[in-house]
């Protein structure tokens, strides 16, 4: 039995934490074993909340193919996330969703897929990566570029080797500044895109990017410079959402609601409106 968005779309479910993973000093993954699996597409979000504090949108980082083991990766960055991070195993929070459209996976047959992540942005992208790994026979290739501030902030680091070893998949990381013991690339994640024209078939690619807004701005600019068209670039945008279901209008960019038409929205749709970045 699966749970779709129910009769009262605002009614949250009580979700019990079955486990908490300390990913980095500021990021934790919350694992929920739900009684009824939450069917979601990669990129759709849920609203996690604590009564009396508030709720915010988070995109599950677990595999859409394993809907009963929902995982949500959360960066501690403000009032609500502070309280979320204080929760322990067995405690509950409110969950409602999934909302949004998710990544347009149906467009990717016979395409090269470029994934660019920054910091905690790898969390929603991991759901996409899981989804793509289950359909590599339909894809040409998957190129993943990821950057974090420092090695301690490299999210899901234990999984990189496994992903890079998969057929058709390449995985490259960078950290912002040199660090003792790190022999890999140094620089912001856009430095990994310098030769992207040689790594993917520009005419038959899609790029999905997620990370801090400033990073989205520079990655989008870099991709456009390198020959991507706005129609090929999808940004996972998060805004101050309120209702999450396309009613209050708080998360709008132009006539598009990020909660309804996103949060993974095509750059071509939003590029001419104010306040994109």
């Amino acid at each position: 039995m699966t749970r779709a968005v129910e009769a009262n779309p605002y009614a949250p479910h009580v979700a019990r934490l079955s486990g908490i993973i300390d990913e980095t000093p500021t990021i934790k993954t919350f694992c929920f074993d739900l009684k009824e699996p939450l069917d979601f597409r990669a990129g759709q979000f849920v609203q996690l909340g604590i009564p009396g504090v508030g709720e915010a949108p988070f995109t599950p980082s677990s595999s859409p193919l394993a809907p009963q083991h929902l995982e949500v990766t959360v960066l501690r960055t403000g009032r609500l996330t502070d309280d979320l991070h204080r929760l322990g195993k067995g405690e509950v929070c409110l969950l409602r969703g999934p909302y949004g459209k998710g990544f347009p996976v149906e467009k990717l047959d016979e395409k090269d897929v470029l994934i660019v992540g920054g910091g905690v942005g790898l969390a929603p992208l991991r759901a996409l990566i899981y989804r793509l790994l289950a359909m590599t026979d339909r894809l040409k290739k998957v190129v993943i570029k990821y950057g974090a501030r420092e090695t301690a902030e490299l999210l899901f680091r234990r999984q990189y080797e496994d992903w890079a070893a998969r057929p058709k998949v390449s995985f490259e990381t960078t950290i912002d500044r040199p660090e003792a013991g790190w022999n890999g690339r140094v620089g912001v994640v856009t430095t990994l895109l310098e030769n992207i024209g040689a790594e993917v078939d520009l005419a038959n690619s899609y790029a999905f990017t997620c990370g801090p807004e400033i990073m989205l701005k520079f990655v989008t600019q870099k991709l456009l410079d390198k020959g991507f068209t706005p129609e090929q670039i999808y940004l996972s945008m998060n805004r101050r959402m309120s209702c999450g279901i396309g009613k209050c209008g708080r998360c709008n960019i132009g006539p598009y609601y990020l909660c309804k038409d996103g949060p993974d929205i095509c750059y071509a749709k939003i590029k001419d409106y104010p306040d994109v970045f």
Binding site: G54, A56, D275
Partner: protein, 68 residues
């Protein structure tokens, strides 16, 4: 983040963004999304505005700028 009163951080930190969005969401995005204006012309916003911003004046200025 959504939440109880006082908890919500502002979605648009810059004044210009808030003003532009107020105008555009009523008269531009509304028609685009739903096919009708987001304003019925009741005038309560003009009467209530503490800053004495008359939205009719703003719209007239924009239209006259556009026709130049």
């Amino acid at each position: 983040m959504a939440g109880p009163r006082g908890a919500k951080p502002t979605p648009r930190p810059r004044l210009r963004s808030r003003f532009v969005n107020r105008l555009l969401h009523k008269y531009a995005y509304g028609p685009q999304q739903f096919g009708y204006l987001g304003c019925v012309g009741c005038g309560r916003c003009i009467e209530a505005c503490f800053g004495k911003i008359d939205i009719r004046k703003v719209l007239r200025e924009i239209c006259s700028d556009a026709s130049r």
